[in-house]
């Protein structure tokens, strides 16, 4: 499956992904209308700022193969979609026990206070590319299969090597 891959070295911490995510998961799906909505739309992706390194890192659901959250959910509200392999959450089954939040290794299961249920990344059903990825101005977020992503990384690495090589260094 395609996932939201992160390239932290590119993140500027502009939080565009957070807003895009909240807007995508709003009633109106439009920024200008979403700001007025209540309950106010919840984001599912988080920019974590690391003061010591003055760096920002986007953290979002990894849709783990063997997802702890699905294992512990007592009501089956969290489950893995067979075809898409997505880890999905059905609010109507959620009892807000927050066991999922406790076991999530990335801390990306949030809370919709008003609805008293969990909220997590759903990879924006009905969208070619998830809103956060589309919103990222620096391509710190990439929507790709793991193998393709490694491909991208390889290409980057290769480029670095190439730059390092002086003409004639082969001799």
């Amino acid at each position: 499956m395609k996932e939201v891959m992160v390239r932290p070295e590119r993140c500027m911490g502009c939080r565009s992904c957070e807003i895009a995510c909240a807007v995508e998961h709003s009633e109106s799906k439009s920024l200008f209308a979403a700001v007025g909505e209540s309950p106010s739309p919840r984001k599912r992706i988080y920019i974590e700022y690391i003061p010591e390194h003055a760096a920002s890192v986007p953290v979002t659901c990894r849709h783990c193969e063997d997802a702890p959250c699905t294992t512990v959910c007592p009501t089956g509200a969290l489950s893995r979609e067979e075809i898409s392999r997505k880890v999905v959450h059905s609010p109507e089954l959620c009892i807000g026990c927050w066991t999922c939040s406790m076991v999530c290794n990335y801390g990306v299961i949030g809370r919709q206070k008003e609805a008293r249920v969990a909220v997590k990344c759903d990879l924006c059903p009905g969208r070619e590319v998830p809103a956060c990825v589309e919103a990222c101005p620096t391509n710190a977020l990439v929507y790709a299969e793991v193998k393709d992503f490694s491909g991208i990384k390889r290409a980057e690495a290769a480029l670095k090597l190439a730059r390092g090589m002086k003409p004639g260094s082969a001799l």
Binding site: S16, E18, I19, L31, A34, V35, A135, P137
Partner: protein
């Protein structure tokens, strides 16, 4: 799938040039806009503050993150401060333009600017009269000189009133006084904006916005109005005349000189220089059939209104004009000139000539302009263009056929004249209901809206509903391109309006000039209100800026509203980050100045909003629906 060009503009000429650009791999504003997407949400909501270096600060619009800046400023405060700075910049642009006009006027009176003279004596005297300058046995020069200094004084004034605000109806003046938003001096208000928005000064949204209104008034009834009046005195008050617009006005076989920007002071001279025999001779030698001057944006509107000089296009067509490959010189002064022209002209033979001492751009031939030797400079510029003609490479040239006839030149005076000297016929028409009211539609282009779609459809919708439309700026050009500025366009109007137009032989949409000339609309509205003995806010009138983009438009919007005219914006201003500010602008102001803003991107919905407001006012005046 339709090519992008079709989604980007409704205008065939524009589409054609966009296709050419695509083919030649030339980048335009639309492409750059796409590269900008998605645009920063914080910016769009106006909740980003860079006013001090503890920041930049941002407010989380969804209330999960920061709800205050470092200094403690809330979304309300930040949005209001940012808006005030936009108003200040807009007002500054208009007023500084005005200052230059007045300075030229002053130099002329002192005989230092020989190229200029008085074209409209009547207006000179009426203006002088307004300032209480007696014409009793005094020479024209003396009066001119005294008027010039009086006008110049308006900028540095510390205590009001600015003279022309007196043109507003009594009730309006009283209201402004009560609200304490009567502008005191043009420069003072703008400076105060910058002071108030400095870290730790004015931090109450309402308080901030009230000053915004005051500053905008110093523009509408100050800077802009002075610019209009002085330019009329110097270059003549426009009168109805015919002309042509759109990229098609560029000539295959003549030297094409584009004048782009906002001031008439230089362009007037260029138009003159283009008829200079020596230069025409030179053009012939270079193999050109003549010299063709065409305008873009408001510099274009100025010469269009006074000389019928053709117009090549609106704001978003500036790059396309160059892309025709047929432009020898793109001559610019100030405002709305895209720096992109530098690299763009580099792809063609076009010379990019910047002239204002204030404004330079990448890749220009600089020919700085000074009033003292205005005509010489103009000739030099035209010569440069002519000499560039041989460099034109025919294989790159492709000029769209679209050119559209139009009738322009409807200054307030011209309109009254057309009405037979008094507003009464119009008032009767309105009272009688054949004309429902007046719609003032103005403003720029904006890549966020399909080019001209907002302008044209909104205006068509209004006239269809018997609303007489007055227009300026790029909206006027858009309407002209869409063939709405010809008397025949009356056929597109509702029965009542159609009748009136045919009776008077005028188009249903009246071109009143450049964007500073929105002051003409104020004067007209004020005249009608006075004739009816009511306030402007009581008139069955509404304004709109369907494709606005510049800070000037924000200032315009603000003074139009605080003058009492309900205004619909076609693109969303960066204020929605604060519910309080948004509410004040769209509702609260009604209770304060009797008018407010609305935001409606869809031109048809926008039209119905305006119509509703007009109906409401008619009812209030006891006119039949």
């Amino acid at each position: 799938m339709k090519p992008k060009a079709y989604e980007r503009s409704i205008d065939p000429a524009t589409r054609a040039m966009l296709l050419k650009a695509e083919k030649e791999g030339i980048e335009t504003a639309w492409d750059r806009y796409e590269k900008q997407l998605p645009q920063c949400s914080f910016g769009q909501l106006g909740v980003c503050c860079r006013n001090c270096n503890m920041g930049p600060c941002r407010i989380d619009p969804f209330g999960e993150g920061a709800d205050k800046g470092v200094c403690g400023a809330t979304a309300d405060i930040i949005v209001a401060r940012n808006l005030l700075r936009m108003i200040a910049a807009g007002a500054a642009a208009h007023s500084d333009h005005a200052r230059d006009a007045v300075l030229t006027f002053k130099k002329m009176s002192g005989g230092e600017a020989g190229s200029y003279g008085i074209k409209d004596e009547a207006k000179l005297f009426s203006l002088a009269a307004e300032y209480g300058i007696s014409a009793e046995d005094r020479s024209k020069e003396e009066i001119t000189a005294e008027l010039a200094s009086a006008l110049l004084a308006e900028f540095g004034k510390q205590e009001g009133p600015i003279q022309y605000t007196r043109r507003a109806p009594e009730t309006r003046l009283r209201l402004w006084a009560e609200l304490g938003i009567e502008p005191r001096g043009i420069d003072r208000e703008i400076v105060e904006c910058m002071h108030r928005t400095h870290m730790g000064v004015d931090n109450d949204a309402t308080h901030i916005l009230l000053h915004g209104l005051r500053t905008s008034l110093s523009d509408g009834w100050g800077g802009s109005m002075i610019a209009t009046e002085v330019q009329d005195v110097l270059f003549g008050t426009p009168e109805p005349r015919k002309a042509t617009v759109n990229l098609g006005v560029l000539s295959e076989d003549k030297v094409n000189v584009i004048i782009h920007g906002h001031e008439p002071i230089l362009s007037e001279m260029i138009v003159e220089a283009a008829e200079d025999p020596t230069l025409l001779k030179l053009a012939k030698e270079k193999g050109a059939k003549g010299i063709n001057v065409a305008g873009i944006c408001c510099t274009g509107n100025e010469t269009l209104m006074r000389h019928g000089t053709p117009i090549a296009g609106t704001f978003l067509q500036q790059e396309l004009a160059v892309i025709t490959g047929a432009v020898e010189a793109m001559v610019v002064d100030v405002q709305c000139v895209m720096p992109a022209l530098g690299s763009l002209t580099g792809c063609y033979h076009t010379k990019f000539i910047s002239t204002s001492p204030k404004a330079d751009f990448p890749g220009t031939n600089r020919i700085e302009f000074h009033e003292e030797k205005a005509y010489e400079t103009a000739k030099e510029i035209v010569r440069t263009a002519v000499e560039n003609f041989p460099n034109r490479s025919p294989e790159k040239v492709s000029i769209p056929d679209e050119k559209q006839e139009c009738m322009v030149g409807f200054s307030a005076e011209a309109i009254l004249k057309a009405l037979g000297g008094t507003p009464t016929p119009l008032i009767d028409a309105i009272a009688g209901g054949s004309v429902k009211g007046i719609g003032a539609v103005v403003g720029c282009n904006n890549v966020k809206v399909q080019h001209n779609y907002g302008h044209v459809n909104l205006v068509k919708e209004l006239i269809k509903n018997n609303v007489l439309v007055v227009t300026t700026g790029c909206n006027a050009i858009a309407c002209a391109e869409a063939g709405l500025l010809v008397p025949e366009a009356a056929s597109m109007a509702g029965e009542g309006l159609k009748g009136v137009c045919e009776a008077l032989g005028i188009p249903p949409v009246l071109h009143m000039g450049s964007c500073v000339d929105i002051s003409r609309i104020l004067v007209l509205a004020s005249a009608i209100a006075k004739a009816l003995g009511v306030d402007i806010s009581d008139l069955p009138a509404a304004g709109a800026a369907p494709e606005w983009m510049s800070e000037k438009a924000v200032s315009i919007g603000a003074y139009v509203v605080s003058s009492g005219v309900y205004t619909v914006l076609g693109t969303v201003p960066p204020v929605l980050g604060s519910a309080a500010v948004a509410d004040l602008l769209t509702r609260g102001l009604d209770g304060v100045v009797g008018a407010s803003f609305a935001v409606e991107p869809d031109p048809f919905k926008a039209a119905s909003l305006m119509l509703a407001r007009i109906e409401e006012k008619r009812k209030a005046l006891g006119l039949k629906a």
